[in-house]
């Protein structure tokens, strides 16, 4: 383990690691991806507002500076794009977002969207598309890996819970559809259960209602393998963040929301959680980068010939 006189010293050691790896491996370009645990719950405070405040807080080893922020800071200072695979704040800070923009570096997060939330962001848009109501959504997980163990701790679970709970609210827009989504009971539980190891079971009980309010139920039992679902996301993010840097896209990369449970967005924008909106956004960004027409799915030209 690295030791240092304060958090800034540790961050400087991480920067040295980055430079050493680049030299040793002969890599022409680098990307950094957080693929470690959920940290204890933190909210944005004064230490996160400006780079100066952030650096001062590191020097004072302020508890507001989480380990993941040291990595993100080190990456950006070394001109390395950073993607956040956990629900931690990390680069979701005004100070680091500004740093990324100034240095023209892509950043993004947060929290890989793999199993239960991926299903949620497919099913919820389907109900909304058909104007079916939702009374409640109960999601429980049993998992036995280190992730499950960490999330058994209430402070870490709080970080995760925020990431998992936000999704439905944004997709369903209860303010616009009060009769359908004004009174949704949404519950998320994570239970550490060692016998399953990395093989997780995500259970969802969904209470929906239709025509004249008649209730119906949907049950989803997803027996998934956490890391088998996450590995391809790590690969895609490594390749797309590298592409983003070569295309001089800087700051938050919202077009990669497809991969995240809590996508970062520009200030004032609500995140798009619907998996297929995210997919369209990603593909249209690729088309735009390469100078191809956007696909609108209008298709009237096939029927109205000139």
């Amino acid at each position: 383990m690295k030791t240092g006189k304060n958090k800034r010293d540790l961050a400087e050691q991480l920067r040295q690691d980055i430079r050493d790896f680049k030299k040793r491996s002969g890599a022409d370009r680098l990307v950094m991806i957080w693929a470690a645990s959920t940290e204890v719950f933190l909210t944005i405070g004064p230490a996160h507002q400006t780079l100066q405040a952030f650096e001062q807080a590191m020097e004072q080893s302020d508890p507001a500076i989480a380990p993941s922020m040291l990595y993100a800071y080190a990456a950006l200072m070394e001109n390395v794009p950073f993607a956040n695979g956990a629900p931690n704040l990390t680069v979701d800070l005004p100070a680091l977002q500004r740093l990324a923009e100034e240095r023209r570096l892509p950043i993004g997060g947060k929290d890989f969207k793999t199993g239960q939330t991926m299903m949620k962001t497919v099913l919820a848009p389907a109900f909304k598309a058909r104007m079916l109501g939702l009374a409640g959504w109960y999601s429980t997980n049993i998992l036995g890996n280190r992730d499950g163990e960490v999330l058994d701790d209430p402070e870490s679970f709080k970080t995760k819970e925020e990431s998992k709970l936000g999704v439905l609210e944004y997709i369903l827009q209860p303010d616009q559809y009060p009769e359908l989504y004004g009174n949704v009971f949404h519950k998320v539980r994570i239970n550490y259960y060692p016998p399953r190891g990395d093989n997780k079971e995500g259970w969802d009980n969904i209470d929906i209602f239709g025509w004249l309010g008649y209730p119906m139920q949907i049950k989803v039992d997803f027996l998934c393998r956490d890391s088998i679902l996450a590995a391809p996301i790590v690969l895609d993010l490594a390749l797309f963040f590298d592409l983003a840097q070569r295309a001089r896209l800087s700051g938050i990369q919202e077009w990669l929301s497809f991969y995240f449970k809590s996508p970062q967005t520009a200030p004032g924008l609500y995140p798009e959680h619907d998996l297929f909106i995210q997919q369209t956004k990603l593909k249209n960004t690729l088309r735009w980068l390469m100078g191809e027409e956007q696909i609108t799915h209008l298709g009237i030209e096939y029927y109205e010939k000139a």
Binding site: V31, S37, L235, D242, A247, R248
Partner: protein
């Protein structure tokens, strides 16, 4: 219809170093998976960049290249890896411990490669675990 001009993209020359924070279940499954794909002993299922296609133009044009043939992405053969972790296990030992991939089928044949990835020490305040991330 007027074609937009597109963006000037620097080609993906040379190697891309992927630095991972955490060398647990997710990281080792990713790294070992890439190496298996490179050696032709696995398919990158679940990866949009490797498996996905993208429709271009009208449906009648029948243009749907693979994404990796459409945009200039780094090639898998050009990836190199590093990781930080508080636990000093190399990627082989960490992958065996994680127990995600079949040892004989997917880890043993690339043992030398995985043993070459030794974690950089994580900062002592770090709670980075050798476990994995939180992709629930």
């Amino acid at each position: 219809m007027a074609q937009p001009s597109g963006r000037d993209i620097t080609p993906a020359r040379g190697t891309l170093g992927v630095m991972l924070v955490g060398l647990g279940a997710v990281s080792t499954t990713f790294v070992a998976g890439v190496e298996n794909v490179r050696r032709g002993t696995g398919i990158p299922i679940g990866s949009l960049s490797q498996m996905g296609t993208i429709r271009l133009g009208k449906r009648t044009e029948k243009r749907s290249p693979k994404i990796k043939d459409f945009v200039p992405l780094a090639d898998l053969k050009d990836l190199v890896f590093a990781a930080w972790d508080p636990i000093p296990d190399d990627a082989y030992a960490a992958a065996v411990k994680a127990g995600v991939l079949e040892r004989h089928e997917h880890l043993e044949p690339i043992k030398d490669f995985l043993q070459g990835i030794k974690p950089l020490p994580a900062p002592s305040t770090s709670i980075t675990s050798s476990g994995c991330t939180a992709p629930t």
